[in-house]
Symmetry: C2
Subunit: 186 residues, 2 copies
């Protein structure tokens, strides 16, 4: 069994939900929403996948109180407690969030996401790799452009799901074809 736990901000816990639908073989309205070509990735048996939790963590207080991070990166702005960073801060914080949820749950794969001003950032941590990337859509959380925020979210979800499916199907080499990806071998 491979276990996954997520701590998500701009992707609203939807990465975890998408993988949960796959793991539980849910269909139709309850099924996966973003994966169209699952067979093309390989023959991984998704019955061997378990989602421990999928956490929507928008506020700095939740990073401290739920993820138990004592000193998270200081946000550049706070919107009703919601942490807002630039892209550099988002990369750092998505890593902190992934590390925290991995430490709490002892999962095999941890995912952290957050997006303030910029493309947002996603960090995926496995036993062997630490992978960080950004979405393909720029937005600024302070300006509340709902459609732009939605497009940034969709881009982040799809990109992360693609990376996870490649990892599960042992296609690590193909990760290099993804734009703006940083892969650190541990």
């Amino acid at each position: 069994m491979i276990t996954i736990a997520t701590a998500e901000c701009f992707t609203h816990g939807k990465i975890g939900l998408e993988l949960h639908a796959l793991a539980q073989n849910y269909k139709g309205n309850f099924g996966s929403k973003y994966i169209k070509n699952l067979d093309e990735y390989g023959e991984f048996n998704y019955n061997d996948l378990s989602i421990i939790c999928s956490l929507f963590i928008p506020t700095i207080d939740a990073v401290k109180d739920i993820l138990k991070v004592e000193n998270p990166p200081k946000p550049d702005y706070l919107i009703k407690g919601i942490k807002v960073y630039d892209e550099t801060g988002d990369k750092k914080t998505s890593k902190v969030m992934a590390e925290a949820v991995m430490k709490l749950t002892n999962c095999d794969i941890a995912i952290g996401t957050t997006a303030g001003i910029g493309h947002g950032a996603i960090t995926i941590i496995t036993q062997n790799y630490q992978i960080t990337t950004i979405s393909d859509v720029y937005s600024d959380l302070r300006k509340v452009n709902s459609e732009e925020l939605y497009q940034r979210q969709i881009s982040g979800i799809k990109k992360t799901i693609k990376i996870i499916l490649l990892i599960l199907n042992n296609k690590i080499n193909e990760l290099n074809t993804i734009e703006n990806i940083e892969i650190i071998e541990k």
Copy 2:
């Protein structure tokens, strides 16, 4: 500012997301999905609402490791770590989940949801009330009927949102018009 935190199972964190969309005034694709008649509830200013976190907690391990519940009710069944209770167990566990997320975050309103075999259960805890209800749809998580599970989820989300909107707009008396609701004044 009124703060809300959720620990959700069968509603997949979507109650928290719906309220977050309201609190942040998100529109269109990024806006609320289940509320059609917001004005009818009253004049509460949703800018005074903040969602601290919305947690999808399907597994018993996440109840222990994320919600920090040392001895949660023992599930009747486990499906890949996912806790499955009957309706009595769900009522008990949704209360445990709500209490746990309230203790962790110190929020004003906490919501816990879980559904195994039955209509599922939802507990809402405020400063003055403990409210428990069930969805209007029966299902059995072990049988993986995706459409039935989906309908149970939608019912649970809509019913909870209705209760929260009545609470925020100080229409406590109207809660009694909701079917299968148990209200305990503290």
